[in-house]
Amino acid sequence: MKRAFVSLVRRDVALAVQVGGGGGMAVFFFFVTVALLPLGIGPNLNLLGQIAPGLLWVALLLSSLLTLDRLFQADFEDGTLDVLSMATLPLELTVVAKVLSHWLTTGLPLVVAAPFLGLLLNLSGDQFLPLVSAMLIGTPALSLMGAVGAALTVSVRRGGLLASLLVIPFYIPVLIFGVAAASSNVMPAVSTQAIALLGAVTLMSFVVGPWAAAAALRANLKT
């Protein structure tokens, strides 16, 4: 069972890296969006520095939404998912494996890219560490809840947009706590509280996400 899990993660990561269109594309989108924002808001570095955590988080959410259809779509279309659903590995664990590889190939690269983009937005020096740690804690929740949206719409042709619309409400707590976590230079107590709450949201998503995504996949696989 453990071997099946590990090999599934390895396969998905390898596929995402080889085929492309995975993390690289999301990071590129992240970069482009962040570059776009000052053009819309104006080059005022003070203002940009103030709103940088919010901008970075929103851009990160949008970038990770873009990649949701990679989670199950291809495997659903070529029948791999049918095989996986009949394997000894419970579908819930299959979902966890897919979420893990999704996070490794999109969530993690986005978090790594975020501090560099923070430089572009004049993010103040003492906010880098709390922001990046908040993103490390929060991005798994994005992949977990994203899996629910992706699984629900897996049988819908071009379901990516619908999946994004379904998932956005579930991303709101992550956004709120994630941005607040980076406010350590103003309110240190709030920042630690926000990180703790963010962890709670991620744990909660870990409880709800795989179960709901697996149920949704079963509903969609049954013909």
Binding site: V148, L152, T153, S155, V156, G159, L162, L165, L166, I168, P169, F170, I172, P173, I176, F177, A180, M187, V190, L197, V201, M204, V208, A212, A215, A216, A219, N220, K222
Partner: protein, 251 residues
Amino acid sequence: MNPMSHLTLTQRFHAFANPARFMALSDKLIAPFGFVTALLIGAGLWYALFNSPADYQQGESVRIMYVHVPSAWLGMMGYMIMAGASLVALVFRHPLADVCAKSAAPIGAAFCFLALVTGSLWGKPMWGTWWEWDARLTSMLILLFLYLGYIALWSTIEEPQRAGRAAAILALVGSINVPIVHYSVVWWNTLHQPASVFRADGPTIASSMLVPLLLMALGFTLFFMTLLMVRMRAEILRRRVRALQLALSEV
């Protein structure tokens, strides 16, 4: 024996045994429910517009409350009905629960929308702005997003059984998330504006205002129930039409 007629017959017995009972019952209930609804809303309107005092702080604008507050209640109640019915649909596979959840969603969404619009119309004279990022308005907006996602999911998956299961899962996950979202929004709100906002429920409600409020709330609730029954009837008929079309195309 004709295989097709046999198929449709068992199909009907199997799938529509309960809905048939519902059809008979709702047929009797809709007219009296509609009548009481009209009475309650009529009386409520009379009190709300003519027979209740203006607020000493908010003046006549307080009359918006009598449509705003019941709409907000029903917007939330609609989601609870939807989530409860979805749970029953998933666990017990009761065919009516599925129909009920689907039919409740647009009504709930409409009331959610009304709560937002009337809240905005109330906020402009009271807060001086059309929109305040107040915790309750924000959660209501997110609730509307959840409703719209649910409705969109139903409309994109063609086969009703598959769509029903997917939508039920979404409604349940949503119902787990609603309190989390609400809590996070309240937390976020206190972070940014330390309780200086004018609260709509600030002045204590006088009993002369309670009468129209309760009448309207009851009227709106009964309206919700009546409309829900009518929508469920239409949905059951739609599924019969679909089943018949499929059966006929197989001949």
